[in-house]
Symmetry: C2
Subunit: 411 residues, 2 copies
């Protein structure tokens, strides 16, 4: 197969994806996570070189699972090799920021009905002090317990009753409503809640329903994790198309940025991550920013987030003084490194032209333009949580490494 | 007071409005509607000259109230003077299309917290065969009974528990999400449902809650009536500012288009309505269109709908081949006949410039530009229901008549 034919096939699969949200169950049920396994965002990484927010989140998860009774206990468990660290991506899952998933955590289950593959993601915890930004105090663990014991099971029951919620149409509509589905998910979250509502009130009652609806009403980023799982379900179908130079995953672990390429299967190509720039919450500044982190860049891999910046005047505020004009320019720039336009994800401000999709490592290397990613910014210190939001570029080195590997395979 | 000072005051009141949705109660509780009174859209009009959809809706309302047992019975009741017809606007209310309100119908109650006045609107019935488009069969009456007996009371309980839902911020956000809140209300409806949800699940249970959530999940135009009531609450505060040439209401009864002007209080200035142009549902065409109808043009009076066309790529589809470019042009044109820009209702596609607001009858007369209104299109025959959606211009004659009256007052 020529590169051209391989990439046409990759693009076909990417654009034909039909992500349907079907369930919410524990990670052990969904993907068979074993005791002692902790999934994290980004490409593989060892404990010693992990950044503080990821380490903090892991400590929190070990306490949440009852595998450790204190931070000291957790650190000791890690030190003696009692924890197996693995990327979410290796288990068909994705997680924002630290991306921690352990076996009892509830995860959304999505099916890509065009190709039969599945993907999972955790439930978005909301803003403030949350595990994904490295916070691990009692309020964080109590929320995780509630998600496990009450919210997750109720969401699962409602989803099973609904027969599945088709996300492609919902996401297309949210893009028309100013979400780029990385920095901004208020439209998608609202559409999703309204779509789930009839099933939710049939399965939930009393205080459990009240707590869940309070949570859904208060979390504008609720849909982020679903957009990520939808993108994961779409992009996983690309892995293993010989010769294809299309990017099938982008993910960061706080130290390295990793990409996967359709023609190279599950292999990662990594380079040191950049640190995002943007706006900081009061009391924080650029020196507080942790380097780029999270599996959420999977949405850019599907043409959302920074790729679709022009669709979101709200997200455009994070690119600085350029505003909407700069947002339009960014999406135009992203067209230089992509092979297609999404037939469903269309951008009103660009005459309903499709979002740029199908990042080609050859084009990145030739143009020197790297994908731009919208992202939250974690505090560098464990336990601080989110300190801002902004944008970051994927490092060039991943793409040159991938292209070399593709050339070697070809040779 | 000079005209300039009077208009500055009118604009100040218009822009300072704080509509808060506080309750849903019967029209007899909200506005003391008497037995035998039927409120209708637009300026005053007699039965004989009413168009068929409004007559059909009145027949339906008389049967719904139990004041008539059949169509023949209803027509006989009207013929012998047993029904008092009155504009919604005269009772602090607004209704879309036929705009029929009778005493047992539930109405939303909004407070303009900046000025203490209130406004009401019916609950949007959804699409298809509905009373407001003149349909009056058993399914229509059954839905009205359900709104009265179950949905309305539950919405009222939820709203009272919520302490009121502030609509200005919600509407500003919906405008950022592609709603112009006349033709398109999917964002506002979704945001509203999510905001009401925590109170709704605390007040509703079982089948009643299920039926209401099904209804809310399925009606993308649910918010239209709330936008209308918000606009009514804002614009009513203008009535009676001596010398002001700012339009305080626009409404149509299917025969005449009427405006009220701040400087002339409750007086109507009317001219024959135009017939909307746009897209028709399969099987219908321009010859099936009823002339322009409904109180919904109150949203244009507040800078929404056609005035804010540039905010809504979705609504722009109804202006024909020009699409988004034409939508931008229309909003620019509307700036020529308005005195201000709304500080909260901003348009992303125009650099977040405020929507044009404060229609000045002098500017309309001087420029020859009349307000453009987004609208549903009712079938001309009673019982047919909606046949399409499009745009229509307010007739020039209302504005010249108002300006003559203002000049006479001044003289």
């Amino acid at each position: 197969m020529t590169v051209r034919a391989a990439n046409a096939e990759a693009l076909r699969r990417l654009l034909a994806a039909e992500p349907v949200l079907t369930d919410c169950v524990s990670a052990v049920e969904a993907i068979g996570l074993e005791p002692g396994v902790v999934l994290h965002a980004g490409p593989p990484i060892g404990w010693q070189v992990m950044c503080a927010p990821v380490q903090g989140a892991i400590v929190g998860a070990l306490r949440y699972e009852g595998w450790a009774s204190s931070e000291a206990d957790a650190l000791e468990l890690v030190a003696r090799g009692g924890v197996r660290l693995e990327p979410c991506h290796h288990r068909g899952a994705v997680g924002p920021m630290a991306g921690i998933i352990t076996r009892s955590m509830p995860v959304f289950v999505l099916e890509n009905r065009a190709f039969g593959n599945r993907a999972c993601a955790t439930i978005n915890e909301g803003l403030g002090r949350v595990l994904r930004f490295g916070a691990n105090d009692e309020t964080v663990l109590a929320r995780l317990a509630w998600l496990r014991d009450e919210a997750g099971p109720l969401l699962g029951k409602a989803l099973r009753r609904s027969g599945g919620i088709e996300l492609r149409t919902l996401m297309a509509q949210a893009l028309q409503m100013g979400d780029e589905m990385h920095q901004r998910n208020v439209a998608a979250s609202s559409l999703f809640v309204r779509a789930l509502l009839p099933s939710l009130v049939r399965e939930g009652t009393g205080a459990a329903l009240e707590r869940l609806t309070d949570f859904l009403a208060g979390n504008d980023q609720f849909f982020l994790n679903l957009a990520m799982a939808a993108a994961k379900a779409a992009t996983d179908s690309l892995l293993g198309i010989p010769g294809s130079t299309v990017v099938a995953a982008m993910a960061r672990n706080g130290a390295e940025f990793g990409i996967r390429v359709a023609g190279c299967g599950a292999r990662w190509f990594t380079a040191p991550v950049n640190t995002p720039e943007g706006f900081f919450f009061p009391g924080f500044g650029p020196t507080d920013a942790n380097p780029d982190l999270g599996d959420s860049a999977i949405v850019e891999t599907l043409g959302l987030g920074g790729m679709a910046m022009a669709a979101s005047p709200g997200a455009a505020r994070f690119v600085g003084a350029g505003g909407v004009a700069e947002a339009l320019r960014i999406t135009e720039e992203m067209r230089e490194i992509t092979l297609g336009e999404h037939p469903y994800f269309r951008i009103p401000a660009q005459g309903d032209r499709g979002a740029p999709v199908g990042i080609d490592v050859r084009r990145v290397v030739t143009t020197g333009i790297t994908p731009l990613i919208n992202t939250g910014i974690a505090g560098r210190k464990a336990g601080v949580g989110q300190v801002g939001a902004g944008v970051v570029r994927a490092p060039f080195g991943c793409f040159t490494a991938a292209l070399e590997a593709l050339a070697a395979d070809d040779g």
